[in-house]
């Protein structure tokens, strides 16, 4: 009569199942299907999705692309380290680079404008964690991800690294400003 003895019937599959279990299974199954279909529906009707655009890339090539962008669109420098700030035109491809222990360069974007944000690391795994909105994307070396981003609120945003990347991981920050 217990869970640690063999079932009372040899042919236990044929024992009818109680009504309570059947009702619960039906309810749970409906809920599972709702949860499943929420995801494709959000791809159709929702505004926060990660598209599947990604490329293989080498650090040198990506770095060159970042430098090219900085040369074109740099507007100023920030901090004693003279980190360039880039203000790309509307809809532009924006290349953000993660490395030990910096997000490079800084960005100045406009509210309600969509940009193609490229993310890549040239050394280890990093975590793009945009605060305070709390958008978190894994950044994997060798793989460039393209995200279409549309900032919906002006302000100063910080990129925290939230994938452990060595001894100075906790000092890895970047900035994005969003202007009206």
């Amino acid at each position: 009569m217990t869970s640690f003895l063999p079932p009372a019937q040899k042919n236990w599959w044929a024992v009818p199942v109680g009504r309570q279990e059947i009702i619960w299974i039906a309810i749970a199954l409906v809920w599972c299907l709702i949860m499943f279909f929420m995801m494709p529906l959000w791809h159709v009707y929702g505004n926060q999705n990660i598209a599947n655009e990604a490329y293989k890339v080498t650090p040198a090539k990506y770095q060159a692309k970042v430098n090219e962008m900085i040369e074109k669109y740099k507007v100023r420098e920030e901090t004693a380290m003279k980190i360039p700030v880039v203000a790309p035109p509307d809809g532009a491809d924006v290349y953000l680079l993660a490395r030990l222990w910096q997000w490079y360069p800084m960005l100045e974007l406009k509210k309600d404008v969509t940009y193609r944000l490229h993310l890549n690391s040239i050394d280890w795994n990093h975590g793009f964690s945009l605060q305070p909105v709390n958008i978190n994307i894994q950044v994997v070396p060798g793989y460039e991800m393209v995200l279409n981003i549309t900032p919906n609120k002006a302000g100063e945003y910080t990129i925290v690294c939230n994938e452990y990347c060595g001894i100075m991981h906790h000092s890895m920050l970047g900035k994005i400003w969003v202007k009206e």
Partner: protein, 578 residues
């Protein structure tokens, strides 16, 4: 000739070799839990912003050690003990190839020591995940590989035992449900360990310079087939422990063998796909791959867990009602033995796993919602609910059950033992809930300084986040106290507990055999099928057998639905992404 002894209190039969292996594995597991707990205290006191105990390099080293020791060594040592118990003791069978089992045990010990030594030497602070191209010392990976090989041998010894039991007809009919659950855990373990070997062997070769490159995205994909599935072993095994404890304490029989086993079958088919939860914001994997895998193929493994969530307490309720506790919806629960740590640990494990771990896990594993949760401290909040409140507390309950049975010692400090599950659960619930809350505010996991002190770019999380991390810190300290109580009671009982059998000496508590006189060469009588009259009584089609449980299940569902859509609401407020 296989020798057996029968426990005079429970009637369980222990094969001598299996018994010693169970003891050795369980004790090794508890030692790992002790180490993991000490490390946990250091982690907690560093992440508690007002204390901020350790310097950064030590913190990352300690965090790596805590993760590896708790999430891999503690649970797998204990799981091997459970496999031997479910295969040998529950089936009244001799254990297949005990020498291989000992070899596996020795390999696991050697591997665990090697990896921990690599971590504490300070040059392998790569976290449990050890994502390439970050590099640990070679013996960090080698130790894990050796440990995995040992565990794999344990799995095959278990499967071999199933074959022996079947051939020698030690039981009638199908294996008991608990043994079936252990089989599911064993199957998941084999996939897990194979994936681990698949990625850690090349990574070891890379660390010694034999291979020049490991692809970081491939590494993440295959590593998570190890990292996540290893926790699915726990799920299958601790559900089996729930059924076992329900059976032992209440004489509860499964409400339906068919439903419970079919639910386990869904685990076999789908549970391991959820390794994708970790890769939802990764580059390079298609939406189709993510949707199919993250949802365990349309949430069929979640369905299975929801079924167990009904049938385990349902079985208890049916058994209690049969004893006359039929008033209202919840008399059966109110009058449950809440001062028996075996039961209270198990029931807290069940409720905590469902409400805290289960709901949060499904929500964060939703493809898009992962964007607002990935790699925040929400993630450790979630898995401390599943792996600590769920698995560890189930293991603690089982330990309390087995101290008199397996080790033949009376438990010391019974009053403290009554209290221990509540202390531990309180602390760990605070850890889980407040880490999750801090995660929704963006606080990063695996992060030494949420204040970013001295950083020229400057950033401050909201003041609430500091408060939440402080409360989680208090919870962590309470949990460590609860964990220490467990260790003191468990180990203390093995050393100082009153002997229930004269042969149960100190050495015998730690895996050495009892004197031969305790055993006989006589083969145990065949394990009979459960008596069938108990099954028939319950097929009144019009009423529910366990109405109270149904209410609890609906409460779970409603919480689940509300929390799920709250997170979609949060998501809808962030920047547009496509």
């Amino acid at each position: 000739m296989a020798q057996f002894r029968q426990c005079p209190d429970t009637g369980l039969f222990f094969h001598k070799e299996a018994e010693n292996l169970m003891k050795a594995n369980a004790v090794a597991g508890v030692v790992c839990l002790l180490i993991a707990g000490i490390l946990a205290l250091l982690v907690v006191l560093t992440r508690w912003p007002a204390v901020h105990l350790l310097p950064a390099d030590t913190f990352y080293m300690v965090l790596t050690a805590h993760g590896v020791c708790a999430l891999i060594f503690w649970v797998i040592f204990f799981e091997i003990a459970i496999l031997y118990f479910a295969g040998s003791t529950l089936l009244r069978s001799r254990l297949a190839t005990p020498r291989w089992a000992w070899a596996g045990f020795v390999l696991m010990i050697v591997g665990a020591v090697m990896t921990m030594a690599a971590i504490f030497a300070g040059k392998s602070s790569v976290m449990m995940t050890s994502y390439v191209p970050m590099r640990a010392e070679p013996h960090f990976y080698l130790g894990l590989v050796i440990f995995a090989v040992g565990a794999l041998i344990g799995c095959f010894v278990y499967l071999g035992t199933l074959v022996v039991a079947k051939n020698e007809k030690t039981y009638e009919g199908s294996v008991p449900l608990v043994t079936f659950g252990a089989t599911v855990a064993c199957i998941i373990a084999i996939f897990t360990i194979a994936s681990g070997a698949e990625i850690l062997i090349p990574t070891y070769l890379w660390s010694i310079g034999y291979i020049s490159h490991i692809d970081p995205a491939m590494y993440r994909l295959i590593w998570w087939a190890l990292g996540h599935s290893s926790q699915q072993i726990n799920v299958s095994a601790h559900v089996a422990v729930w059924y076992l404890i329900a059976g032992v304490i209440f004489g509860a029989r499964p409400m339906s063998e068919k439903v419970s086993r079919a639910a386990y079958l869904l685990y076999i088919f789908f549970l391991q796909l959820a390794s994708a939860h970790h890769l939802l914001t990764d580059p390079g994997l298609s939406v189709e791959w993510k949707l199919f895998n993250t949802s365990y193929a349309m949430y069929l493994a979640v369905l299975a867990s929801m079924i167990h969530g009904l049938t385990v307490p349902g079985a208890i309720e049916v058994a209690q009602r049969k004893k006359g506790l039929t008033n209202g919806a919840f008399e059966w629960l109110r009058k449950a033995p809440w001062d028996n740590p075996v039961f209270s640990s198990m029931f807290i494990s069940l409720v905590g796993f469902g409400f805290l771990g289960g709901i949060s896990g499904v929500v964060m594993g939703t493809e898009q919602i992962s964007i607002i949760i990935h790699n925040t401290i929400y993630v450790p909040g979630h898995f401390h609910a599943t792996v600590v409140i769920g698995t560890t507390m189930a293991w603690m309950g089982l330990t309390y059950l087995l101290i008199p049975v397996l080790f033949r010692r009376k438990m010391i400090m019974p009053q403290a033992a009554k209290l221990q599950p509540y202390v531990f659960a309180l602390g760990m619930s605070l850890v889980a809930i407040f880490h999750m809350a801090a995660g929704t505010l963006g606080v990063a996991r695996r992060h030494w300084d949420m204040g970013f002190a001295g950083n020229p770019l400057g950033f401050e999380y909201p003041a609430t986040a500091y408060l939440l991390m402080g409360i989680a810190g208090v919870g962590g300290v309470i949990a460590v106290v609860g964990g220490a109580m467990f260790i003191v009671i468990a180990v203390g009982s093995l050393v100082f507990g009153e002997k229930l059998q004269k042969e149960a000496g100190l050495l015998q508590s730690f895996g050495f055999p009892l004197a031969d006189s305790a055993y006989t060469d006589e083969k145990p009588a065949r394990l009979p099928m459960a008596p069938s009259e108990a099954v028939e009584a319950h097929h009144d089609e019009s009423s529910f057998e366990a109405p109270g449980t149904f209410i609890l299940a609906m409460v779970l569902l409603v919480s689940f639905v509300i929390y799920y859509f709250i997170n979609w609401k949060y998501l809808s407020e962030v920047w547009g992404l496509s």
